[in-house]
Amino acid sequence: MSELTLMLIRFAYLAILWIFVLSAISVVRSDMFGARIESTPRADRRAERRREKESRNRVKPAKRPRGAPTHVQIVEGANEGESASLDHAPLLIGRGADAAIRLDDDYVSTRHARIASNGDQWFVEDLGSTNGTYIGSHRLTQPTTIQLGSKIRIGKTTLELRK
């Protein structure tokens, strides 16, 4: 091995070492100044897909016994005709953006009531709403069981458990 080759190898290796150090520093630099909020169409689509997957993963397709309610139907009020599946229980009912059943009803609170199940029975629970939640003429003070066909009155809206 000639003297010249060895010298070349020596300098080449030092160059490699410094290229590594400098590129590490440049990554640090871009980390400091180059932080961007990912809002390219591609990133948006990716995020959308991720959210979809997550929501799909969260759904537990639990086998419900025959004859059990599967959805909540709005039978009276501004949103009449709409329905929500009980698969995503517990369901939040209200006027807020995070409610699963969103009602355009001025007499409904932002987070008004909740429909939840303990496995074989369905409950409705008032979440401290302004105008209260009624079953028939009875204003709820504690979580109450509901059956198929029970009419839940919230503001000017009536909901019903359907098969």
């Binding site: 091995m1 020596r10 290796y13 490699i16 150090v21 590490a24 990554v27 006027r95 001025d106 932002t110």
Partner: protein
């Protein structure tokens, strides 16, 4: 109000994941590691080593394995740390291999160390993944504050136990189990950081505010400082008893810096420095072990016919011979310096890669410390901040103590050069430290979850009851 919050969130710093950048740097780091191995082969034997593909493949497999683990377990973690340690580890392996070849050529029967080091590196990488896997949220570790403190003491005491304790090179800091020997102090280091951080998070207000003022410095109450002071004294005492000066220096500095960071009182640094100077002066007068270290620091060229050329001097001459660009890998003679593969590996690097190479290595250490402190700044919880600072300071102090010792800036005390020098316990513990840092930085850099604010539009109308 919601608009203001939205604007604030838009202006807030959002970190990207940077996993692609990490992969790019990892490939470069492999070039550094495998390139050094090839250059050693070319320099010593004139040919590229025949097992370069197997060796390179193994290193690549380790790196890619760690990278994939980070991708899945800590996707927002810092992109620079893993490549930097992979480069340092690869370079260290090549230098150790080079010294093995040197010993072989001279017929000195020690080693080979490189194979051993590669096994430990593999173990370190496995531990790295395990730590990422087990510690899913670093804040959970705060619950085990006192457990870590107790474990640290036990680990420090283990080498003093009669059966398993072993004394190598005058320091009783090893435990031996069959053919394996291990330095429990290296793991104790990590646990002490966790203990200090957990304790200081809870007590820092009391430490900083309650207490009386004396000589311009606020001294905290004994009941606040007591446990941690006792803990620190025990660990320090054990180390002095084991004649492990480097580690005691490291623990002292670590304790001081974490106390300063937690309480924001610069007075601690003054008190600590004074205590250190007094302690060092007394130790120099009383402890013969310390005395000899200081003597060989002040008068390195005093020739003792029984000892031959002192290690320190031969290391210094090696670095001087290396000069600015070094002799070239395989062209120097680092085997002259005793322990050129462990304590004095910086001298070996200085000899073969010169000042240019040493500067690159020091910058890499600087990057590790910088990333640790950056993580501490970004981190949202106080415990994480303190742990990241402590781990960064461990690296900084360790490199300072060992490189300062080798270059005769301070008296030489035995500490391993992180990731470079031959020594399994230190290597494995350092990989675990980096995994912890990555876990914290993953938590810190992860964007805040989207909080949907309840709509603040018109209030609910009240039904009039007649």
């Amino acid at each position: 109000m919601s608009a203001a919050i939205g604007a604030l969130r838009d202006r807030a710093f959002t970190h990207r994941r940077r996993r692609g950048a990490e992969l790019f740097l990892l490939v470069l780091s492999l070039v550094v590691g495998v390139g050094a191995y090839a250059a050693v082969g070319l320099g010593v034997e004139g040919t590229v080593p025949p097992d370069i593909f197997a060796y390179g493949g193994w290193l690549a497999a380790l790196c890619i394995g760690c990278h994939v683990a980070v991708r899945y377990l800590a996707p927002y973690a810092d992109p620079v740390l893993l490549p930097v340690i992979s480069a340092l580890n690869g370079l260290g392996l090549a230098i150790i291999h080079r010294i093995d070849l040197g010993y072989e050529a001279k017929g000195i029967e020690i080693g080979p160390f490189a194979d051993n080091q590669l096994q430990w590196m593999t173990l370190g990488a496995v531990l790295f993944v395990v730590v990422l896997l087990v510690v899913r949220d670093h804040r959970r570790l705060q619950a085990f504050t006192y457990t870590f403190g107790f474990a640290a003491i036990v680990l420090l005491l283990l080498p003093l136990m009669p059966v398993i304790g072993r004394s190598i090179n005058g320091s009783r800091i090893w435990i031996g189990l069959g053919p394996f020997s291990f330095q429990p102090g290296e793991l104790a280091k990590v646990m002490l950081v966790l203990f200090f951080a957990g304790y200081l998070v809870v007590h820092r207000d009391a430490l900083a505010l309650a207490g009386r003022r004396f000589a311009g410095i606020d001294f905290p109450r004994g009941r606040d400082l007591g446990p941690i002071l006792a803990m620190w004294l025990v660990s320090l005492g054990v180390l002095v008893f084991q004649k492990d000066l480097g580690s005691s220096l490291l623990f002292f500095g670590l304790f001081l810096v974490m106390l300063y960071v937690a309480t924001e009182r610069p007075g601690w640094l003054v008190v600590g420095t004074v205590m250190f100077l007094v302690g060092a002066f007394v130790a120099n007068l009383v402890v013969s072990h310390v005395q000899s270290r200081v003597d060989s620091w002040l008068h390195p060229f005093a020739y003792d016919p029984d000892q031959g050329v002192p290690q320190l001097v031969s290391g210094l001459y090696g670095m001087a011979w290396g000069g600015l660009v070094g002799r070239g890998l395989g062209q120097g003679d680092p085997t002259i310096t005793p322990l050129g593969f462990s304590d004095f590996i910086m001298a070996s690097i200085g000899e073969e890669l010169g000042l240019t190479g040493v500067m690159a290595v020091l910058l890499l250490y600087g990057l590790i410390v910088e990333r640790a402190l950056r993580t501490a700044l970004v981190c949202r919880d106080a415990f994480g901040k303190l742990v990241a600072t402590g781990l960064g300071v461990v690296f900084a102090l360790q490199v300072f103590v060992v490189v300062g010792g080798v270059t005769r800036l301070i008296p030489l005390t035995g500490l391993t050069t992180p990731f470079l020098s031959s020594g399994g316990s230190s290597l494995v513990a350092n990989w675990a430290i980096i995994a912890l840092l990555l876990r914290i930085s993953d938590q810190a850099r992860r964007p805040l979850p989207e909080l949907t604010e309840p709509e603040q539009d018109d209030a609910t109308q009240v039904v009039k009851l007649s």
